[in-house]
Amino acid sequence: MSAKKTHKFYGHGIPRVQAEDLGGKLIVVEGADGSGRSTQIAELVNWLETSGRPTAQVGLKRSTLVSEELEKAQDGNVLSRTTLSLFYATDFADQLENIIIPALKAGFIVLADRYIYTLMARDMVRGMDDKWLKNLYGIAPVPDAVFYLSVEPEELVQRNLSKNARLDYWESGMDLGLSRDVFESFLKYQFAIQNAFKVMQKTYGFDIVDANRSANAVNKELRKKISSVLDKE
């Protein structure tokens, strides 16, 4: 049996960081807006912390370095594809180096509310080169578990509308010009994103969780699976 399980990077990794120094656990929850990601993560953090485990959280567009600028740029929809893609990669890298890496070094459980897969799926749908994306995100550590909360696009529409009474421009992929009708664009875009996840599933081996069910049922399944990841220590 191997003594201590350490992490690996998908590619080159990052300068000055040794993969062997990374302990802890990295757990990723992926899924569209309305898939219940945030609810699930809040529940998981609550569960882990009450059972005495230190956690850290990251998510998209939360970096000190570029989150504000990224938000501004998106509001105006002025950035082109490669630029937006690199801007998001910068946002990810900043959180990676300032939160994920130090937390893993300290043996924390890091919960990522979306990870490089969403970023890659969005870019794949927009026609970016696979190889380019793989190289770019070679800086990312391989997580200990990735859960993809899968919800049918029709159900996502219902959930998003009941929450916000509107569909988000970007989550509807309106920049792609799939349809001028937001409702139709949302369905088409979410379908395309799910396909991209299916393609990536073969390479990255996500655990696909049926999130059409109640939040409780989903959380039960997640806890069970995460427990077995944590028991591996």
């Binding site: 300068p15 600028e69 740029a73 490669t82 630029t83 910068t90 990676l96 190289n135």
Partner: protein, 249 residues
């Protein structure tokens, strides 16, 4: 890496590279003035100048938040923004685009900071190669003196202080620039740099620059078909003159 000519762009891109203080910016500025005077469609773009990304970059630099990885990515973002929104459309419209620094600056700097060369090059692989890259090679001492004489306060990242080469910014800057120069020289063949002697006097260098450019690029193809619109003050003059001529006729 293919050039814009090889990718059948109607425009051409000329890049200058070199250390800070090598005099490359002066040379490309004089080149721009000449091309403009010749009535050629020309556009100038500078490293690290995209409006959108600039505020993030300067925040990162001021607060010393950047790591080699984020330093590299934020500059790649800046470059991509200028590339996709300015350079590509202009090159498709048949412009001569002049770049004060191009991807090679990232290749040299980021690798010096410890980023893997393949990773950096991969990130910039969306960009075509310049049709002409002039590398201004001055003796390290000459470049250092030009910078250190005129601008005594060195910025943190500019001096490579993040690399912990020395606690003295001047010492750090010298070591850092020396390493960047090594990186430049190591890639100069691979990317067809034309090496310019930057120790030579400015006028002589410019004569050479203009000669090189006109040999490499058939400049008459890039002339404006219609003259640039005149400033409003002159437009009014011309209207009056035209009216007079009309009356005379």
């Amino acid at each position: 890496m293919k050039t814009f000519a090889e990718m059948n762009f109607p425009g051409r891109l000329i890049a200058v590279e070199g250390l800070d203080g090598s005099g490359k910016s002066t040379q490309i500025y004089l080149l721009k003035r000449w091309l403009e005077a010749e009535g050629i469609k020309v556009y100038f773009s500078e490293w690290n100048s995209s409006e959108l990304v600039k505020s993030a970059t300067s925040k990162g630099k001021k607060r010393e938040l950047l790591t080699p990885t984020t330093f590299s990515l934020i500059h790649a973002t800046d470059f991509a923004d200028r590339y996709e929104r300015h350079l590509v459309p202009l090159l498709r419209a048949g412009y001569i685009v002049l770049c004060d620094r191009y991807v090679f600056t990232a290749f040299a700097r980021d690798v010096t900071r410890g980023c893997p060369p393949d990773w950096v090059r991969g990130n910039y692989s969306f960009a075509c190669a310049p049709d002409l890259t002039m590398f201004f090679k001055a003796d390290l001492e000459v470049s250092l003196n030009r910078i250190l004489e005129g601008r005594p306060k060195l910025k943190f990242f500019e001096a490579g202080m993040d690399l912990r080469l020395s606690t003295d910014p001047y010492e750090s800057f010298k070591i850092f620039q020396g390493r960047i120069l090594d990186q430049y020289l190591a890639m100069s063949k691979e990317f067809n740099f034309v090496i310019m002697d930057a120790n030579e006097n400015v006028e002589k260098q410019q004569v050479l620059v203009r000669k090189l450019v006109s040999e490499k690029i058939d400049l008459k193809k890039f002339k404006r078909k219609s003259p640039l619109p005149l400033p409003p003050s002159l437009v009014n003059d011309r209207d009056e003159k035209d009216e007079l001529e009309d009356k005379a006729a």
